[in-house]
Assembly symmetry: C2
Homo-oligomer: 153 residues x 2
DNA sequence: CAAGCAGCTTGCATTTTGCAAGTAGAATTA
DNA sequence: TAATTCTACTTGCAAAATGCAAGCTGCTTG
């Protein structure tokens, strides 16, 4: 079957740690994000304004198309992202973060801070790392408000 | 060769994103922690007072011994943990977090907060989630001080 | 000095990943 | 309106990572 559900039938079905190796919160996040690719999709949605399948494929880490399809489906199943038809082009889908996805922002920001400290070649701009130190909450709400703009492109 | 270095010869060799798929901070953390097991070892060191090889093997997620050996070695190479001989038993090694490892605490706490919000079966105690909301910094410094105690067992 | 423990290593079957190529439907172009 | 292109996948297969069991080695303990 080629058709896949555009809206999440299982939105009411919570994914929780009964389906996991343990009820540990660290393990819980690993069961969804514990691989080399999933968090890059979140990054693209959260920080890079990417919305379409082809946008994710074009990222510099070069995710392969079968892995991307698999990860997008899993993220939708678990309520982290939404998939809707692009009103401007009915052959395209728009992927976006749900509230559950947006709530990963503090995790993403702490990761960015840690990498900023320990990767001498990090591409995070100085002003961003500075803002992380001096006004994390302000930075976070700015990023969230940009996410809610009709289009960030 | 059976013998492996007990102290990190490459401590001066920084692992940075030149060896990675990109210079992105999110990708940087994935290159070390982007798998199903590594972060559980960090959790055991950070929150559970585990120190010995056998302690990690005994965790409820049941890591297998070859994977554990591989992950411990990688973490040591990358300067996230230290490996020393246990003075109480010269056939044992003690693993511990370096400063670089301890600096993952904010990431771990945000993960715990997120899972606390979205996993209805999380095993994180209510008081811990409460403390995360109300006094994150206080909670963090308490955890760090416990890490520095001579033995938390 | 024999037995046991702690920390691995090795071998092999299973699963996941990575790359290339193919497919289906909507939109665009000729 | 027929052919081509665009977008989002699916499929097949080789390569790599994982999982399990067994084995090995250097202490320590009886």
């Amino acid at each position: 079957m080629y058709f896949t559900s555009t809206f999440n039938d299982n939105a009411h079905m919570e994914f929780n740690s009964k389906d996991c190796r343990s009820n540990c919160p660290i393990n819980f996040i690993l069961e969804t994000f514990g691989d080399k690719w999933t968090l890059l999709v979140i990054r693209d949605l959260m920080f890079k304004g990417k919305r379409h399948y082809g946008d994710f494929l074009a990222s510099e880490e070069k995710i392969s198309t079968n892995i991307l399809a698999d990860r997008l489906q899993r993220l939708e199943e678990r309520g982290v992202i939404n998939k809707t038809i692009d009103p401007n082009n009915r052959s395209k889908f728009i992927y976006s973060l749900t509230q559950k996805g947006k709530d990963l922002l503090p995790v993403m920001l702490e990761i960015t801070a840690w990498s900023g400290r320990y990767d001498s070649l990090t591409n995070t701009p100085k002003w961003f790392l500075q803002a992380l130190k001096e006004d994390k909450a302000g930075l976070a709400s700015k990023i969230l408000s940009e996410l809610d703009e009709p289009s960030s492109k």
